[in-house]
Symmetry: C2
Subunit: 159 residues, 2 copies
Amino acid sequence: MLKLSKKADYGLMALQHIAANQYADVARARVVNTKEIAEEYHIPVELLAKVLQTLAKSGIIDSHNGPKGGYLLGRNPREITIAQVLESLEGPLGIMDCSHEKEGDACMQREHCNIRTPLLKIQSSIYQLLNNMTLQDMMGGTPLITIQSVATEQQGVER
Amino acid sequence: MLKLSKKADYGLMALQHIAANQYADVARARVVNTKEIAEEYHIPVELLAKVLQTLAKSGIIDSHNGPKGGYLLGRNPREITIAQVLESLEGPLGIMDCSHEKEGDACMQREHCNIRTPLLKIQSSIYQLLNNMTLQDMMGGTPLITIQSVATEQQGVER
DNA sequence: CTTTTGTACGACTGAATTGATCGGAGATCA
DNA sequence: TGATCTCCGATCAATTCAGTCGTACAAAAG
């Protein structure tokens, strides 16, 4: 329950990877393409492509066509929040169906609905939570910086 | 996204209704049955029945058979948390697949997974949130106490 | 004590969401 | 100009979920 979809999973992984390659070492900033990410994390290429396209359409990442093309972050990692990513990939996030419903097509239970108010509070809290954590924060605790610099950075992470 | 299922919706509504009838007025505490709740909130009876059975099996409510039978809360409303209800109806709640996975059958991405740690933190926060809000809290802000005792209890709640 | 009513309970079926796939068009670099 | 790579649409399969049906059981009525 409350499990987020594969799209979201893949999207977050990809973003972390892109960010790492772009910001970890300024001198070695490079563009990563779909195939590379897919192979690295064992994700079906076509599905990942679709995810990245969606993210690009939202402006979270920028796409570069042609050979040597790929993706780059659209803005600073600390200005990309989890909430933005999830909303881009799965639409507006709401605990219940009647989260943002106009009058009229409301659910049948609406008039007698006794749980709407408290659930809205919970939803608001969750949104704040997701909107406070940025891509920058996600990179902090990660042992793996980039594929090739693994050998150099060899600290013993969690075990 | 993150939307909770109909089961959860119905379950929470029903619990609120049961609690209201049981605790609002000690003198008029009464047992409510499936049919009554279903008609009141326009929920398919059989589905609601299934939900209530699940909750009963978890000990959240007690079932009473035969005519004049129905359901009562298994324990005090302030000892029933949203998290307990959701887990009863939809299994353990986890943001991701690998939330509580043993070593071995882990996902393919596990070794390279760069988002596990931060997501676990978010998940933990959400769980705390859901586990801190009780059925008692949900009853506070509700205008409708019970169907028949509306006339007696006429305090102006939030408006 | 038997019958009747109304309830809980479990298995089953259909529908919808989601994960995954395929094929083609356009753009960029060598 | 040719080859590589991304973008974009439509399509298919699988899992999950909402909803339904039939049975067994317990309590009240006769």
